[in-house]
């Protein structure tokens, strides 16, 4: 565990007051773990949509240009005025980035909990992980079995815990079945497997025949293609069959969230025996947890008055759910890391690659089925 370099390559994202975004790599001194900390050599870290929100923010990436500084890549792009208003809180702060990853503990502080991790493979969460090394408290690491492939350990937190949070939320709020959009995503595939295992009826909404085929292959039962002419009818039929009254929407913009509420209402009205001018009294909930479409959400309110559309974010959910639920969910992720929670990556790139303009265009397109993994040490 010696032979550590003197410096650590880290990625930073900076909003400049003149309306420019700058994303760059910087060599910083190698951090020294405090007694409760460990130094992790980052072997794999995914690019999640939630990372892109911080990395590129509201910049207009069609204006992106590449340069170098001290031999390291720099990407610069213009930020439109509304974007600058939205990002007012971060102007002038070069922020490190990367929510989660997997690595090897190469140095540990003196505390027993830190020492216990020395030489171990761990999953880590807590930001600043797009780097060669990350120094962080031992408790922010999750111990993985020896020999775990870093590819398998890289996405232990965000997608696995988010998909588990969907089923937990569903149960806590008294629903018995789920709807999910962008359902062919890595997260969507995990949700299919969780629901199959737990016996939860799940309606998967996708937007292409290729995605229908992908989900069929992994055993999904209810798959609806929003590109079909009879999408609303098919969605209503699936909601009627499953009784799903709780949805999670990764898309956010456009009409889809409202269409889900509308079809839930049609399914609920079918179960009613008397007419009510206010629609059904079945409570219908859709959570928006992503923003694959940054455009406005458009609700044609044809679904009565017993509904809710809300934002959903993992961290507040975990805080509210409490320690016991957190531990149970984390243990399940470790137990089912190479089955239920297996992630698939279409591209493996270096930290330097991650700042190449064509690579950025690739991962920023957020295409379902394409997922980028950064391997800082190749």
């Amino acid at each position: 565990m010696t032979d550590l370099p003197d410096t650590n390559l880290v990625m930073l994202t900076l909003v400049k007051p003149e309306g420019e975004l700058e994303v760059f790599l910087e060599r910083r001194p190698m951090p020294e773990p405090a007694p409760h900390e460990v130094l992790v050599k980052v072997l794999a870290t995914p690019i999640n949509p939630s990372d892109l929100g911080l990395l590129l923010g509201a910049a207009d990436m069609s204006t992106a240009r590449a340069s170098t500084r001290d031999g390291l890549p720099v990407v610069t792009a213009d930020i439109p005025a509304p974007g600058m208003r939205a990002m007012g809180g971060r102007i002038g702060d070069a922020l490190p980035i990367g929510n989660e990853g997997c690595g090897l503990v190469v140095k540990a502080g003196s505390s027993p909990e830190a020492q216990a991790l020395l030489g171990k493979t761990v999953a880590l969460i807590g930001g600043e992980i797009y780097a060669e090394y990350r120094c962080l408290p031992a408790q922010m690491c999750m111990l993985l079995p020896d020999g775990t492939d870093p590819r398998d350990g890289a996405s232990c937190f965000v997608n696995p815990l988010t998909s588990l949070a969907f089923t937990e939320t569903m149960r806590m709020e008294g629903h018995s079945a789920l709807v999910h959009t962008a359902a062919a995503s890595n997260l969507g595939q995990m949700l299919v497997k969780i629901c199959a295992k737990d016996g939860i009826p799940l309606v998967n909404i996708v937007r292409s025949e290729a995605q229908v085929a992908l989900l069929k292959d992994i055993g999904a039962t209810h798959i609806v293609n929003s590109s079909d002419d009879d999408f609303m009818d098919k969605l209503t039929a699936a909601l009627t069959e499953t009784g799903a009254t709780c949805g999670f929407d990764a898309i956010g913009g456009g009409k889809l969230a409202g269409q889900i509420l509308a079809c839930m209402e049609v399914a609920a009205v079918k179960r009613m025996t008397t007419y009510s001018r206010y629609g059904s009294d079945t409570f219908k909930q859709v959570y928006i947890y992503g923003a694959l479409d940054l455009g406005p959400t458009i609700l044609n309110r044809s679904f009565g008055l017993t509904w809710s559309l809300s934002g959903f974010l993992l961290t507040p959910f975990l805080q509210k759910a409490g320690m016991e639920v957190n531990m149970r969910l984390r243990q399940r992720v470790v137990d089912e890391l190479t089955t239920t929670f297996k992630s698939h990556y279409s591209h493996e790139i270096s930290l330097t690659d991650a700042l190449a303009l064509d690579t950025i265009a690739g991962y920023n397109a957020k295409r379902t089925g394409e997922k980028y993994l950064i391997r800082p040490h190749g």
Copy 2:
């Protein structure tokens, strides 16, 4: 209490399978109260937006034509295809109408609770009140002080209980201040008085200078005009000052609900000390309780992920709140009937007038400051 006529004039609304709405008056036999029931001579009954939803439904009133049948008025209008789908559950049923009113108990069943109301002025709820007489269980009446003007007793339930429900909901869900739209309405004026009395900061959103003046006259503190160029800035300032994170929106369509959430978020971010890519962790709730604008709700999601937009309906709220809260709210309405809960009517009309095309056009415009009261006996 004799001299009752043999028949009772009632208003009915019918959706015909061929895509027509028919609203008409019909003479029905005078009902005879069962032991637990009373017969109320209806002296005043308001036309609320919630009545219009049932009365005119999704009909295209620009196609309305007047005729008569058996000497009584009939109004017919075409219903567009989407409207027919929405109203599928009521096709072929001639539905009585009128949510609430005030009248005199002219006949009572043999039970003590019914007999106790004989000769008394009561407020009543329960539908079918656009009629000369209404026979209903004694427990659906609220006893009013002798000599109560029927104008004052006509709107004891919908607006007073809805406005009280807003403040109850605010407290139950942990907020400390409110936002209200279409705030110059009868309901809005009640809310201004309730909040003043209870010390609840209230941000009133209106859409004209005349409405600003009206609310100033009754002592409202925070009034924002959505027609002003700097509306968003002024709304943000009022939300910052009051800390309001709970809103009730009567309009429903358009951008307003989303603008309220956006300004709540700007106010919340001002209170934050560190930047978060997900926005503030302040929970922001807007309830849509009306549909003055039937167009789509458009949300430009610039308010993080800690928010909820929901439908709000009085009856489920009251059911959830329980008997004790219900009794407390009703008692307050009776106690403050001619002060806090005083309603103002711009037009008094007969049952027959209510089916005149120009009168329908008047009340269907739902203009703030205009409110129609039906006086079935002049």
